[in-house]
């Protein structure tokens, strides 16, 4: 049971991190912030954060395999 609670807690932390990175004024900094290889930085940032969240969730879930 404590293991399951730890899993929930880690994922909740990741959830809050996701909220911060995607739904806070942080995103606004990247509006019109130039581009990277011709791709506007805002796209790069959003997809990178998205991929990062998925990656961390996968790592957390893998730790808790039983």
């Amino acid at each position: 049971m404590p293991r399951a609670r730890l899993l929930r807690q880690r994922l909740l932390t990741l959830f809050l991190l996701g909220l911060l990175l995607l739904f806070s004024p942080l995103v606004l900094y990247l509006e019109g912030a130039g581009d990277w290889l011709g791709i506007p930085l805002l796209y790069v940032y959003l997809f990178a954060v998205w991929a990062l969240i998925i990656l961390l969730a996968a790592v957390i879930a893998a730790w808790h395999r039983d």
Binding site: M1, A4, L7, R8, L11, L12, L14, F15, G18, L19, L22, F23, V27, L28, E31, G32, P40, L42, Y43, L46, F47, W50, A51, I53, I54, A57, A58, A61, H64, R65, D66
Partner: protein, 911 residues
């Protein structure tokens, strides 16, 4: 492209789908399920991505830039909470055999049929536009493909329904869904084949989208990069090339909306909760499903840009770019692949959604009405076939309603906004579902009020504007409000302007919903059934899971329960289920089962799997006689359970404390035994020591007594021995008393500042006689500065005398060649003063150095029994330790023994 080719291809694809389902069902029957795999489960969740995603994302991106992402970011984040949220739902659904979201909400609030019906109505009305959208997508993509190689938008010409592709698509999908989803009744037996087919479709639509994305992106970067450079200043491209984040409230609200929808849409509930075969699969899904969403969005922006570059006139609908671009580029295979991908996105959604909705319609809407009728007349014997027929009818009707909506209103909006309106409708379930999983206070009336209020506001702010756009209502109504009351304008309720329509509708509908839910729930306490259900739902992830103790009391007949179940499930399945249950309870035959609460609960959950919780409760109640359990009694039962839990915690705590205490006692007992043994040893040593002088006193006294003629010299000698033995005896007794006093802590201590030089001098003068007798030379080394310690003067002298006597005892005596030597030294040792008494005797072997401080232990290295009582050193150790110092024996530098003690200096000794 020829129509027959597309049709044949479509049918081949649907046939393949059916083959996948059939194969998975076969495997499941053989016990080698393909669906019981976490990846298949995660892929089946991707039924979330419908034709709306497949075609509509590009359209939305082309129109407004980044907004389309919110539909996928919200679910990505909410999936991280599935470890608690979805887990609770899955556990409850398994325990209660819940088969739809209506069933779930009805079960939570006291198995209310009324609530289940209302949820069904909201879901059907809310989701029908969404189904219409799928029909529109399939028929449009078919029509567009038919015109290959010309890119032409379908005309909105008035065709009769029988010539309308959407109508034929609706009928075909209805037939297909009926084949798929209504073959047997017990829905909680899960549709293994269906899940396999959905997972397969998820792979097909993702592949199609990715292939199209790569091809079109390469075209954009290669052959079309000149056009792209020219079009870079086109205002239509600005939202994509210079992306801006939408206004925060829209960005957040749409994400929230999608996050709620991914849990609450009837089809998502079906695949996430009802079709879940193992709750551990959630752990894979919570990252694999978001990964799927990420991949299917990767090429949305490039395709949108390519479309805007390729069709500069704006006469091609952006929703169709992914299909019209391959046509423009003369890539027939890609166009067909995209068509199949869109078809698979649409059919997957329609099949699962209509199965979920038809279950709700039959169990929560039609069946309760029939039950009401049958209360007066006896119901037909084979209800199971009735139910299947109702479900099939419901599937057909839902699809026809979808088609009807498409015909009447489907042209007014682009795809994405239709989907969002549906999302807001199902978001109305959120307070009841999520609140019900974490809050015990909700009541049936509260849930009804919240849902009604939210639904009415949804109709007013989101559905009415659609009707107005479709020309059914005067458009002025939208701006000016009903009767010109500006405050009530559906698009700017209470003067809220400047918000996007969906955000506006979501905000007001959820506000009305949550407000009414809380307000009405606060009017009364939850009743017996509600409290019991709240316990099952809220405590689902508690240790040991939901309490299964059913709250039921009354009388029932097994035969009646079985015949009731037979009506819905058929005789064979009923007999098998009851026999299995009897075996689990250790009863030989089903007929012998005790008609108690647990059996009735079993029958009720068995029926729940077929007809839903609320109806099952009513049906079971019709064949049993339930006594009403009062609220007080329920609370008592719940309190009892709580108390028992508290007791067991308390017991556990106490038994741990007890164990600790036992361990302590055992240790204490061991110590006591050791002390007891020491005391015995001490007693025997003391008596032994007393006996020796006593024996000699007695012997000499007897001689003196018996022999009066003894010479005077002789007599004098004997009397001298008597005196010395008596002295030794009294010294021994004194020392024993002294030791006992110090050990027991009753000794008087008169501590003061004592100068060590003075005490050493006193001790030397006391032992002068003894030392001189034995011809021992004493040397003294001490600093000139007075060495002050805090001690009892007399006791300290006692210690020094003991040490000196000890040294005198062991120093060689009477040998003129090796004169006895005793050296007394005083020196500073750190913060202590150290006094050492060294002799040049035989010394103490290393293993005896500690033993000499034990009572009656004397170093036997002298060979013969040494002089003394054997208590001097133990007393000295007691005294020194009491004064805060330590005493020990060590080897002298050359030869002999050295006994030292340290005492803390009273004033710091000079450095």
């Amino acid at each position: 492209m020829s129509g027959p080719l597309i049709i044949v291809l479509s049918f081949a694809y649907l046939g393949l789908l059916f083959a996948v389902a059939w194969w998975a069902d076969r495997r499941a029957d053989q016990g080698r399920s393909v669906v019981a795999h976490p990846t298949v489960y995660a892929l089946s969740l991707a039924v979330y991505c419908t034709a709306w995603t497949f075609y509509g994302s590009v359209g939305r991106a082309a129109e407004s830039g980044l907004g389309f992402l919110t539909i996928y970011l919200g679910p990505t984040l909410i999936a991280l909470l599935w470890g608690s949220l979805a887990l609770k739902m899955v556990r409850v659904a398994k325990a209660e055999r819940i088969i739809s979201i209506a069933d779930f909400i009805a079960s939570r609030y006291g198995k209310s049929q009324l609530l289940g019906g209302l949820v069904t109505i909201v879901a059907v009305i809310g989701v029908i536009p969404y189904i219409a959208l799928q029909l529109k997508a399939v028929s449009w993509s078919f029509t567009i493909l038919l015109d290959y190689p010309v890119v032409r938008m379908p005309s909105a010409a008035d065709v009769p329904p029988w010539a309308d592709t959407a109508f034929i698509v609706a009928l075909l999908l209805a037939a297909f869904t009926i084949l798929f989803g209504t073959r047997h009744l017990d829905a909680s037996q899960r549709y293994e084949g269906l899940v396999a087919a959905i997972a397969f479709e998820s792979i097909v639509k993702l592949t199609a989208f990715l292939v199209a994305g790569v091809v079109l992106t390469l075209w954009l970067l290669g052959p079309a990069h000149f056009e792209l450079a020219i079009a870079a200043d086109d205002p239509r491209l600005q939202p994509l090339l210079q992306p801006r984040v939408p206004p925060f409230q829209d960005w957040f609200a749409t994400s929230l909306l999608a996050a709620l929808a991914v849990m609450l849409l009837p089809r998502q509930f079906q695949v996430t909760v009802v079709e879940n075969s193992d709750e551990r699969h959630l752990r894979r899904a919570l990252w694999l499903f978001p990964l799927y969403l990420l991949l299917i969005n990767l090429f949305v922006v490039p395709i949108a840009i390519a479309g805007l570059v390729a069709f500069p006139n704006g006469d091609v609908d952006a929703d169709t770019f992914i299909l019209t671009l391959p046509i423009l580029l003369q890539l027939p295979w890609l166009a067909l692949l995209v068509f199949i991908g869109g078809l698979s996105a649409a059919t997957g959604m329609v099949i699962v959604e209509t199965i979920a909705l038809s279950t709700m319609v039959s169990n929560d809407l039609v069946l309760p009405l029939l039950l009401r009728r049958w209360r007066r007349r006896s119901p037909p014997a084979d209800l199971g076939r009735w139910l299947l027929a109702i479900r099939r009818g419901a599937i057909l009707i839902i699809l026809l309603l979808g088609y009807g909506y498409y015909r009447l209103a489907g042209e007014a909006y682009e795809l994405v906004s239709i989907g969002l309106v549906s999302f807001v409708a199902v978001a109305q379930f959120a307070p009841m579902v999520i609140g019900g999983l974490y809050w015990r206070g909700g009541t049936r009336e509260g849930a009804l009020a919240g849902l009604t209020a939210g639904f009415l506001v949804w109709m007013y702010t989101l559905l009415l504007p659609y009707f107005a756009m479709s020309g059914w209502l005067p458009p002025a109504f939208m701006e000016a409000g009903p009767g010109g009351v500006q405050l009530l304008a559906p698009l700017a309720l209470f003067g809220f302007e400047g918000w996007n329509q969906v955000t506006h509708g979501l905000f007001w509908s959820l506000a009305a919903n949550i407000g009414s839910f809380l307000l009405i729930s606060s009017l009364r306490e939850p009743n017996a059934v509600e409290a019991a259900q709240a316990r099952i739902f809220v405590d689902a992830t508690r240790h040991g899971g939901a309490g299964k103790a059913p709250l039921w009391r009354g009388s029932a007949e097994i035969a009646e329960l079985m015949s009731l179940a037979e009506r819905f499930l058929g005789p064979e399945r009923t007999a098998a289920a009851f026999a299995d249950y009897a075996r689990r309870r250790g009863v030989a035959r089903a007929q012998l089962l005790p008609p108690d609460a647990a059996t009735v609960y079993f029958a009720e959950t068995l029926l729940s799997g077929a007809i839903g919780g609320a109806s099952a409760r009513v049906m079971v109640a019709s064949v049993t006689e339930e006594e009403i359990i009062g609220m007080d009694e329920v609370l008592n039962i719940l309190d009892e359970a709580n108390e028992i839990r508290a007791y067991s915690h308390e017991l556990e705590r106490k038994s741990q404390a007890l164990e600790a205490a036992t361990a302590e006692l055992r240790a204490a007992n061991l110590q006591l035994q050791e002390l007891d043994r020491l005391k015995d040893d001490f007693m025997s040593s003391v008596t032994h020591e007393l006996r020796t002088p006593l024996a000699s006193i007695r012997a000499f006294s007897e001689i003196l007594h018996d022999d009066p003629d003894l010479a005077v010299e002789q007599r004098q000698r004997f009397i001298a021995i008597l005196v010395s033995e008596t002295e030794r005896l009294s010294r021994l007794v004194n020392q024993v008393l002294d030791l006992a006093k110090i050990e027991s802590g009753h000794a008087d201590w008169r501590n003061e500042v004592v100068i060590l030089q003075e005490t050493i001098a006193q001790a030397l003068s006391t032992t002068e006689q003894l030392l001189r007798e034995r011809g021992i030379v004493v040397t003294l080394e001490q600093p000139a500065t007075p060495a002050a310690v805090w001690a009892d003067r007399d006791r300290l002298i006692q210690v020094l005398v003991n040490l000196l006597a000890n040294a005198a005892k062991f120093a060689p005596a009477g040998d003129p060649e090796v004169p006895g030597q005793v050296r007394v030294s005083l020196a500073a040792a750190g913060a202590d003063w150290r006094v050492c008494v060294t002799d040049n005797g035989p010394g103490i072997p290393e293993h005896e150095r500690e033993l000499v401080f034990e009572k009656f232990r004397q170093s036997a290295s002298g060979g013969n029994k040494p002089l003394g009582t054997g208590l001097g050193l133990p007393i000295s150790r007691q005294i020194i330790e009491h004064l805060g110092g330590r005493v020990w024996a060590e080897a002298a530098p050359e030869k002999g023994a050295r006994l030292c003690f340290d005492l803390p200096a009273h004033a710091p000794p000079p450095a």
